[in-house]
Symmetry: C2
Subunit: 432 residues, 2 copies
C-alpha cells in the first residue's frame, strides 16, 4: 500500500491560511514557530524528544505532487495562485531543535522552524504528528527501561497500534533503551534488532506440546525461546527441557501471576538441571508491573500494549506556535501570562556534580550568559532547506538519552506521580 | 515517504513459526483463526467494527518483495525454504467477518481467516494492527456522535496522532458519523469531506485581528469560519461581524469555559444582528464535554485529541486466535473455561420491535436455527484469495453503524460506565 508523499498529511486550514496570506502578501513575512509542551502528561517527571530523525526524512520528501495539487484545487481548498505555490513548494528555511534523546520539560522549545509564514505553517501538522506520537512512546518506554533495572526489554506491541505507528513505536522504544522489537519493518528501516519467540497457535497447531517444541528447536536451534503456558506451565517447562535440554535459551510465560510463576519456574528449571535457561515474561506489562517484578527471577521483559499506547499518555501534548513575525515577538493575548513571544534560546544548568538544576529559556537573545556546567540544548538540523551534515544516528540518540537520564535529580526517575524533574524558567533578557 | 509493502508490518515470530512449520509439514494444515475481544474497554457498552475496508486494500498488496526476503534471510529470521515460500506468498484462503460499522461485544467473532496455517498466521500482526486501531477510534467517535445529538462534528486531531494513524482515524471517525475531517490525505484517499477554519497564528501574523479577518474573507468568502479568541473574544466577534457582515458562516472559540462563552457569544451575535452566524467550539472536547454542551447554543463541535486517541481506550484489545486445525477445534487450556474452539457462526437476535436482545455464537455449526428477527453477522470478504464482489463502501458502513446503534437497548447509548449492551452467548451446538 503506497502511502503517498507526506504533504497531504496536513490539516485543511494550513492551506486555506496560505491562500489568504498569499493574496494579502503576509505569506512572505519572516516567521518563527516553536514546538513545546505546556505541560507533561499528569504525574510525569520528564519528556523525551523522539521522532526528529523520522521527521527529517519526511521533510526531505515533503512535496506536493501534481495529482495532490489537482485534488486541492478541484475540491476548492486552494485557489490557482496557491496551487502554483504548492506545486513549487520546498522548504527553504531553517530548523533547529533539541537532539533526539534529549529530555524536555514544560516550556522547553524543542523545535524551532524559521522561514516565511507560508513555508513554515504548512509543516505544522506533520511536525506535530511525528513528535507528538514518538515523544509519547519514548517517554513511556524510558520509564519501563528504568523500571527494568538493566534487564533487557523486547518491544512487542505492534498488533495493538496502527500498522505504521507500530514501526515508529519500535523505533522510539529502541531509542529509549529497549533491546529489540518484534517489528520486522523496524528492523529493515532502522536496523533495530528484531526478536521473537512463538505464539500459542504454534503449540495448538501441533499434535502435542512436545511436538511443537521439537519442531521449533529443529528449525531454530536450542538458542530459542519456548512458550510454555499453552496448557500447564510446569509440564510445559518439563517438556521444554526434555526436548531442548539445558542448553535452551529461554522459556516464556505470557499469562497468570507472573511474580509467582517466575519464581516457581526458576526453581523448576534449576531442579531440572537447567540453571542457565532464562525466563522471559510478557502479558500486559507496564512500567509498574515491570517494577513489581524486580525481585523475581525474571531475565527479559516483553512489553506490548503499554509501550505502543504511551502507557496512559498516547500523545505528548506538543503545540506549534508562531512566536515571531518580521523580528517582532507575537503572543496570543488570551493565554497564560507566562507565555512569552520571540525566538528562544535554551540551555540547561548543571551542578559541578553533573546534576541538572534548571533549564533557562531566553527570549530574543542569541548568546546566553554561560556558566561552567551550562549546556546549550538546540542544534541546527536544516539550513536553507538543506539537512546539515553529521546528523546523529539512532544509536547516538539512544546513548544521548541514557546520558541525559543520569543528569536529572534522582526523584526524576521515580515512577510515582510528581512534578517535572527540572524547572524551566522562560525569561525575556536583552532588548525588546 | 514510501512506506513499503505491508508484509513487513509483521512480528518476527510469525516468520520463525512458519520456518519451523514448513520443516515439519504442519504449515499446510487447514486452519481457522478468529479475531475477537475478550472484553470491551472498561465501562464501554459496545465496540464498533472499523478498518475492514482499509485492511482488505492492504491484504491485496501483501507480498514479500525481493529486498524484504533478502533482509529476512540475511538477518537469519528465515531459512532458504521459508525465503522461497515468502517470495511466492499470496493469500489464497478465505476471509469472513462482521461488516464494517457493525457493533461487537466480548466474544463476537468479528473476523475469521481460513487457509493453511502458514498463510493465515503471517497475516496476524497486520490484521490486528488495523482492526485494533480503527475499532478503537470508531468506538470513541461513535460515543461523541451520540453526545452531539445531531450537531455536526469535525475531526481535527491529526496533529495528536502518528501521521498515518491520523488518516485512518479520520476515516474511522467519519464512519462513526463525524461530518468531516481536517485531514487532507483522508479527503484524497477516502473522499471524506474536509474542513478547516484558521489558527491563532494567522491572526498573529497580521498587523491586527481585523486585518486577518478581512484577509480570510477576501480569500475564502463570507462562508468561512473566523477564529475569534486570539485576543478578546467579545471584541473578536465584533471585529468578525464588522469585517464579514451577518452573512458570515461561523465563528470559532477554541479556549476558555465553552459553555459560558457559547451563550455569551450567541447573545452578542444576535445583538449585532447576526443570528445566522454559527458557533463552532473546540479545545480538548471528549464525549463528556460534548454532552455537557448540549443545552448551549453550539452549532458545530471540533474534536481532536480525544477522538484520535480513542478517548482513554487507544486500542481495542482484539486478539487473533487459532480455533481449528484440520477440522478439529483447538483451545489454549490455561484460558478461561468460556473459550470454545472451532469455527463460529454468529447471529444477533432481535425483538419484534427491532431491539437486539442477544448475540448467539455457535461453534462448529454452519446453519444456525433461524427465528424471525435473527440476523447473521458474518459476510464473505475474500474467497480463495480474491476479494468478493460488491464490498460495502465507506458510506454503506457509515449508514450500517447508524442503523445498528438504533437496535441496541437504550442503556447501550449511555456515556456512563456500564456492561456490554448485548450479551454474547458462545455455545457448542451440533456434533463435536
Amino acid at each position: 500500500m503506497f502511502a503517498g508523499a507526506p504533504s497531504l498529511l496536513t490539516d485543511h486550514y494550513e492551506l486555506t491560511m496560505i491562500s489568504a496570506a498569499l493574496r494579502d502578501g503576509t505569506a512572505h513575512r519572516r516567521s518563527v514557530f516553536e514546538v513545546f509542551a505546556r505541560r507533561l502528561p499528569v504525574g510525569r517527571r520528564y519528556g523525551v524528544v523522539a521522532g526528529t530523525g523520522r521527521l527529517l526524512e519526511l521533510l526531505a520528501a515533503f512535496r506536493f505532487h501534481p495529482d495532490e495539487v489537482a485534488f486541492l484545487r478541484d475540491r476548492g481548498v486552494v485557489d490557482e495562485q496557491t496551487a502554483a505555490w504548492l506545486a513549487d513548494y520546498r522548504f527553504q528555511g531553517d530548523l533547529d531543535g533539541y537532539a533526539e534523546g534529549e529530555l524536555f520539560f514544560p516550556g522547553s522549545p524543542i523545535m524551532t522552524v524559521s522561514g516565511t509564514f507560508a513555508e513554515c505553517v504548512v509543516l505544522e501538522t506533520l511536525i506535530l504528528s511525528v513528535l507528538n506520537h514518538d515523544c509519547a512512546i519514548a517517554a513511556a518506554a524510558a520509564r519501563m527501561v528504568t523500571a527494568a533495572r538493566g534487564r533487557p526489554l523486547i518491544e512487542m506491541g505492534s498488533r495493538r497500534a496502527h500498522e505504521e505507528a507500530a514501526v515508529a513505536s519500535a523505533r522510539a522504544a529502541y531509542l529509549a533503551g529497549f533491546a529489540s522489537t518484534s517489528n520486522l519493518a523496524a528492523g529493515l528501516r532502522y536496523g533495530i534488532p528484531t526478536a521473537g519467540t512463538a505464539a500459542h497457535a504454534f503449540t495448538l497447531l501441533h499434535d502435542d506440546e512436545k511436538a511443537a517444541f521439537a519442531s521449533q528447536v529443529a528449525a531454530l536451534g536450542e538458542q530459542t525461546t519456548l512458550l510454555v503456558d499453552t496448557y500447564d506451565i510446569s509440564q510445559g517447562i518439563r517438556n521444554a527441557i526434555a526436548v531442548a535440554g539445558p542448553g535452551l535459551r529461554a522459556v516464556r510465560i505470557d499469562s497468570g501471576d507472573l511474580s509467582v510463576l517466575a519464581a516457581q519456574s526458576r526453581a523448576l528449571l534449576d531442579e531440572l538441571g537447567a540453571p542457565d535457561v532464562k525466563i522471559v515474561v510478557s502479558g500486559d506489562l507496564d512500567e509498574y508491573a515491570i517494577a513489581a517484578l524486580a525481585a523475581e527471577p525474571v531475565d527479559v521483559y516483553g512489553a506490548g500494549t503499554a509501550v505502543v499506547t504511551g502507557s496512559g499518555a498516547p500523545t505528548a501534548g506538543l503545540v506549534y506556535k508562531l512566536v515571531e513575525v518580521d523580528g517582532r515577538p507575537v503572543v496570543k493575548r488570551s493565554e497564560n501570562k507566562a507565555t512569552i513571544g520571540g525566538r528562544k534560546t535554551a540551555y540547561r544548568r548543571h551542578k559541578p556534580t553533573g546534576t541538572a538544576v534548571e533549564e533557562i529559556v531566553l527570549s530574543q537573545q542569541a548568546t546566553p550568559p554561560a556558566q561552567p556546567g551550562d549546556r546549550l540544548l538546540q542544534r541546527p538540523f536544516v539550513r536553507g532547506g538543506e539537512l546539515v551534515a553529521d546528523l546523529p544516528t539512532l544509536a547516538d540518540s539512544r546513548a544521548h538519552l541514557r546520558d541525559c537520564l543520569i543528569t536529572i535529580p534522582w526523584e526524576g526517575l521515580k515512577l510515582s506521580a510528581g512534578d517535572p524533574a527540572v524547572h524551566v524558567t522562560v525569561t525575556t533578557v536583552g532588548p525588546r
